[in-house]
């Protein structure tokens, strides 16, 4: 993982709350088996709207997303973080993040910085009145600067340390391999194991077929 200390880039005001992971990346894009190449999928449903912020020239090259409360709610899909990164975002500012999204960000070197609602509002105003303004996110001092707004942000110490050092979690954990083995040795023997597999007798499953007569697959659409 790349080390993150400070980043400066165009700020993108996303004046919406509850931006869930289905909005960040709809499920149809989750069929891919790669870890990169999701930039086209980011905010896919909104990208078709010419008024959407990322469709405006001043914000297109943005790399710091400034969003409303409860960003990243819903699904655990790490694809949401990959899509933001692939588009070019290095940091997301919000007043509150969903737990799993925040965790996923930390693993992928995307900074999820918690900023107070008052400061988010001030930053939005700068970015909306002066489109293209750059935002500096300084992880060392935990401050964000946008125009004449300088605001503190929160990120937990451990995530900050890992981001600044660019450390890989698995490598860190495997330093304690002996302790994992010791735990395994004292684990209760009756705890379940998936192997050898146990199950009820296998039965043939009949494949359901499309309905041909009544209730045809054509979807009735109410306008």
């Amino acid at each position: 993982m790349e080390k993150f200390t400070t980043h400066t880039g165009i700020g993108v005001p996303l004046r919406r709350s509850n931006v869930d992971t289905d909005q960040i990346i709809p499920a149809v894009y989750l069929k891919r088996v790669t870890r990169t190449g999701f930039e086209d999928a980011l905010f896919a449903a909104w990208r078709g709207d010419p008024d959407f912020v990322l469709n405006k020239d001043a914000y297109k090259a943005g790399s710091v997303l400034v969003a409303g409360p409860d960003f990243g709610t819903g699904s655990s899909r790490e694809h949401a973080v990959w899509a933001l990164k692939d588009y070019g975002f290095k940091a997301v500012l919000s007043t509150r993040f969903a737990d799993i999204f925040r965790g996923n960000s930390g693993k992928q070197g995307l900074l999820a910085a918690v900023v107070s609602p008052e400061d988010i509002e001030l930053i939005w105003k700068v970015l909306e009145t002066q489109p293209g303004t750059e935002v500096t996110v300084d992880l060392v001092s935990r401050t964000v600067t946008c125009g004449d707004v300088v605001a503190p942000f929160q990120v937990d110490d451990y995530t900050r340390w890992r981001l600044m050092e660019g450390l890989d979690d698995i490598g860190l954990t495997l330093q304690h391999e002996d302790e994992i083995s010791a735990f395994e040795a004292r684990r209760e023997p009756w705890r379940p194991k998936t192997l050898p597999a146990k199950h009820l007798p296998p039965v043939e499953i009949q494949a359901a077929r499309p309905v041909v007569s009544l209730g045809s697959p054509e979807v009735p659409v109410r306008s």
């Binding site: 919406r16 709350s17 509850n18 869930d20 289905d22 499920a27 989750l30 069929k31 891919r32 088996v33 870890r35 409860d70 709610t73 819903g74 699904s75 655990s76 790490e78 694809h79 969903a98 737990d99 799993i100 965790g103 996923n104 693993k107 937990d156 110490d157 451990y158 979690d169 698995i170 860190l172 954990t173 304690h176 391999e177 302790e179 994992i180 735990f183 395994e184 684990r187 009756w190 705890r191 379940p192 194991k193 998936t194 192997l195 597999a197 146990k198 199950h199 009820l200 039965v203 499953i205 494949a207 359901a208 499309p210 309905v211 009544l214 209730g215 979807v219 659409v221 109410r222 306008s223």
Partner: protein
């Protein structure tokens, strides 16, 4: 020292306590894997030359991206087929048990784990899926993880975790006829909001919770994530033990006795302190439905679409305005007058046998509304077999519904089962986000009973609205 249920399970899995702000390292008892969030994790293992540390604590199924029709034929969508084949190849290469499409134990991971008896009290359970919280119904600490964490668990069978806060949610009283566990959890989410549980493990308790079956408890824990919580738990009791006994992977003989003895200790101590507490009265609950685009935007069915102008908080007001525009709803419209095009019955929230029985009891001998398409999708192949053994499939087909093979189906707009743009559904699933069930689709979250009544009347309805009235079973 007095502890909560969540803290007890946490302490029992401590491999290493974190120092200087570092997270604790916890052992993971059960890792559930599916096709969508695992390919990049296996690829990571391959690139680093790592193996799966504990294939014997890992199990995979195909669910999110699978069709629910023609499952014996090649999957038509080539990208989907590649993803399924990737899981099959990975399972083979890394020695992981996989229940594939067509296998009697295939189904939604969160339905398969409990039915095999793998989900047990006091375990730590993870899966690359946010609805892993379902397994908390057994008193397990169960939560969804991202793909990097999936790789981490595959490689180490542990996870570094920062401690959670704890919230007690006490549901007193008893549910009235026509209301269900789904109405309890929708009411809780409407009360505390989609961010209200953020940073917490929720523990559901109280008389109403104790009276619920395991399947109903799973419905409640399943949607903990919709309140922003990582996990939801219910202390195990006789109902839990009864459900587990005799299941394929449940302990047997002396092991069973040892396990039950331990399971009985898994409850919050009388003097345990929670970081937050919420109380709800089940007696006051009515069938609940959502009107907006997040699961917190819900109201009793007897209410009307809210007027955003009357919402004091600016963010909530803007969100409500956007939601009504997306949902194409007018403030003041009685929720009962909202007509739907599709009724979806299934998902890890409400795709278990009890849910299907509840629906069958309502629709038996009736016909669906002409204007409505009805999909009944069992949560697992075993649920499908059980339903067929009880003749429920006939009830659904006579009603005019489609009876499908098991999978996530229309819950998530990924496989072929999707809403068309502008189409409106009453759905027993868990998320009503914009486009969740298909691009442009509009979702109202409901209980299985409301889904059944809605399929009959064509508009959002409760069983109390049915004519002739439903005879008590």
């Amino acid at each position: 020292m007095a502890g909560t249920l969540a803290e007890k399970v946490w302490e029992a899995h401590l491999v290493r306590r974190g120092e200087d702000g570092a997270p604790d390292l916890l052992f993971i008892d059960l890792h559930l894997v599916h096709e969508v969030t695992s390919p990049q994790a296996f690829e990571g293992l391959r690139l680093a030359g790592r193996k799966v540390r504990r294939p014997d604590l890992t199990i995979a199924t195909e669910d999110h991206n699978t069709p629910t029709l023609d499952i014996d034929r090649p999957i038509a969508d080539t990208t989907s087929r590649t993803q399924i084949e990737t899981l099959r190849n990975n399972a083979k290469e890394f020695g992981i048990r996989l229940h594939s499409l067509g296998d009697a134990d295939q189904g939604i991971v969160h339905v398969v784990g409990p039915q095999l008896g793998l989900t047990q009290p006091g375990l730590t359970v993870v899966c690359g899926d946010s609805h892993t919280s379902t397994h908390g119904a057994f008193g397990a600490l169960a939560f969804g993880i991202g793909t990097s964490e999936v790789e981490h668990v595959l490689a180490t069978q542990t996870l570094p975790l920062q401690p959670f806060k704890t919230m007690a949610i006490t549901v007193d009283g008893q549910l009235k006829p026509g209301t269900t566990a789904k109405d309890i959890i929708l009411a809780i989410i409407a009360k505390i909001g989609t961010g209200g549980g953020q940073g917490y493990v929720l523990e559901y308790r109280g008389e109403a919770i104790r009276s619920l079956s395991m399947e109903a408890r799973m419905t409640i824990c399943n949607m903990s994530i919709e309140a922003g919580a990582r996990a939801g738990m219910i202390a195990p009791d006789e109902t839990t033990f009864e459900y587990l006994k005799g299941r394929p992977h449940a302990p047997e003989g002396a092991d069973w006795d040892a396990a039950v003895e331990y399971w009985r200790t898994l409850r919050s101590d009388e003097d345990a302190v929670f970081d937050a507490e919420v109380v709800l009265d089940a007696n006051e609950l009515e069938p609940f439905v959502t009107w907006g685009t997040n699961p917190g935007q819900g109201l009793p069915l007897s209410a009307a679409v809210p007027n955003p102008a009357q919402i004091p908080d600016e963010n909530e007001r803007l969100a409500a305005e956007r939601a009504l525009e997306y949902m194409d709803l007018e403030p003041g419209t009685p929720l009962r007058e909202i007509a739907v095009d599709t009724v979806f019955i299934g998902s890890c929230t409400n795709g278990r046998i009890e849910d299907l029985r509840a629906v069958a009891d309502v629709v038996k001998g009736r016909k669906k509304a002409d204007s409505v398409r009805v999909l009944v999708v069992p949560g697992s192949a075993r649920v499908r077999l059980q339903a067929e053994a009880e003749g429920l499939d006939k009830v659904f087909l006579d009603f005019g519904a489609e009876w499908r093979n098991a999978g996530c189906s229309m819950c998530l707009g990924m496989n072929p089962d999707q809403l068309a743009p502008g189409e409106r559904s009453a759905s027993t699933s868990n998320r009503n986000f914009e486009g969740r069930q298909g691009k442009g689709g509009r979702t109202h979250l409901v209980s299985p009973l409301v889904a059944a009544a809605t399929a009959i009347r064509g508009t959002l309805s409760s069983v109390a609205d049915l004519e002739p009235a439903l005879q008590p079973a």
